[in-house]
């Protein structure tokens, strides 16, 4: 199928309602991937703060999109739907990683494993301006400590530049809740940073 023919049957940019996935050949799915891959990867990377994990989860997101295109009813735009899958997959990954960490903690209590505890390096987003890398690393550490919903709202706003309305659609909540989440996120970040710099001064 040529790209012109494809645009006549289903254009992911113009039409929010795709045909059933069974009717979408893999070659057409490729266009969807090409269109959304950077947005998905950037969102997932910002939430997970680890490149390897983000690469794996990005694949999971697109596999999920491929498998569930048939159930997409077009109630929201395609990009909102894909963002939602990206956020959910990232949260699932974080939860499973935390569960593994808890199990790992029990193992580290054993004396021979004490030295084997992995050292997590500071995350630096590849898109940060060089002069601000150090500060951005501190900020990402603070973002990591935010409550889940505040973290999602802040990430979608700062990293993906989504509007309040778009964030509310992705998070399936009201615009006023998004405003409140972002306000509390900024307050919490201020507090974390205050503590961080106070500790730094003491040292």
């Amino acid at each position: 199928m040529s790209s012109k023919q494809y645009q006549q049957t289903w254009n992911p940019i113009e039409s929010p309602t795709p045909k059933h996935a069974a009717e979408v050949p893999v070659t057409d799915f490729r266009e969807l991937v090409a269109l959304y891959q950077h947005r998905v990867f950037n969102t997932v990377l910002s939430l997970l703060q680890n490149r390897e994990d983000a690469e794996d989860v990005t694949q999971e997101v697109f596999i999920r999109v491929y498998q569930t295109l048939a159930t997409f009813k077009g109630e929201s735009s395609l990009s909102t739907w894909i963002y939602r899958i990206s956020v959910n997959k990232s949260l699932d990954f974080i939860k499973s990683k935390k569960a593994k960490k808890r199990f790992g903690l029990i193992r580290t209590l054993l004396p021979e494993n004490e030295a084997n505890a992995p050292v997590v390096p500071d995350f630096v987003h590849p898109g940060v301006v060089l002069e601000r890398k150090e500060q951005a690393a501190i900020l990402f550490k603070a973002i990591e400590k935010l409550p889940e919903k505040q973290k999602i709202a802040f990430t979608l706003s700062k990293m993906e530049d989504l509007s309040y309305a778009e964030i509310s659609a992705v998070m399936e909540t009201s615009v006023s809740s998004v405003e409140s989440l972002l306000f509390r996120a900024k307050q919490n970040l201020q507090q974390y940073l205050q503590q961080h710099f106070a500790q730094e001064r003491e040292v």
């Binding site: 059933h20 996935a21 069974a22 893999v26 799915f29 490729r30 991937v33 090409a34 891959q37 950077h38 947005r39 998905v40 990867f41 950037n42 990377l45 910002s46 983000a54 690469e55 990005t58 694949q59 697109f62 596999i63 491929y66 498998q67 569930t68 295109l69 048939a70 159930t71 987003h125 590849p126 898109g127 940060v128 301006v129 601000r132 500060q135 951005a136 501190i138 900020l139 603070a142 700062k158 990293m159 993906e160 900024k186 970040l189 201020q190 940073l193 205050q194 710099f197 106070a198």
Partner: protein, 97 residues
């Protein structure tokens, strides 16, 4: 001192201003293709319309079976009642003497 701290915090909070979005790995499609190929055909996608059609067909079959069973059992009850047997017995001229 306080102003200095606040300045540091503000600078840190602004460190993400003008951030460029990260780009996905260049081999993402190749990796996806491998994984899509590995998905069993049956597990790929079943259109929701077809699921509903199958459910409707099953419901129709069950309904028809229930209706047939009810009809047959009613027929059996009527034909096996003592009155029916007696009527059939006496309506036969051989028994009616």
């Amino acid at each position: 001192m306080k102003e200095d701290l606040q300045h540091k915090i503000n600078e840190t909070l602004a460190s993400l201003d003008g951030i460029q979005p990260a780009t996905a790995p260049t081999d993402l499609w190749e990796r996806l293709q491998e994984r899509i190929g590995a998905i069993p055909v049956a597990a790929k996608v079943i259109p929701i319309r077809r699921v509903w059609q199958a459910a409707a067909a099953i419901a129709l079959m069950i309904g028809l079976n229930i209706a047939l069973l009810a009809y047959n059992s009613r027929q059996a009850t009527v034909s096996n009642s003592p009155e029916t047997i007696a009527n059939a017995y006496f309506s036969d001229p051989i028994n009616n003497y």
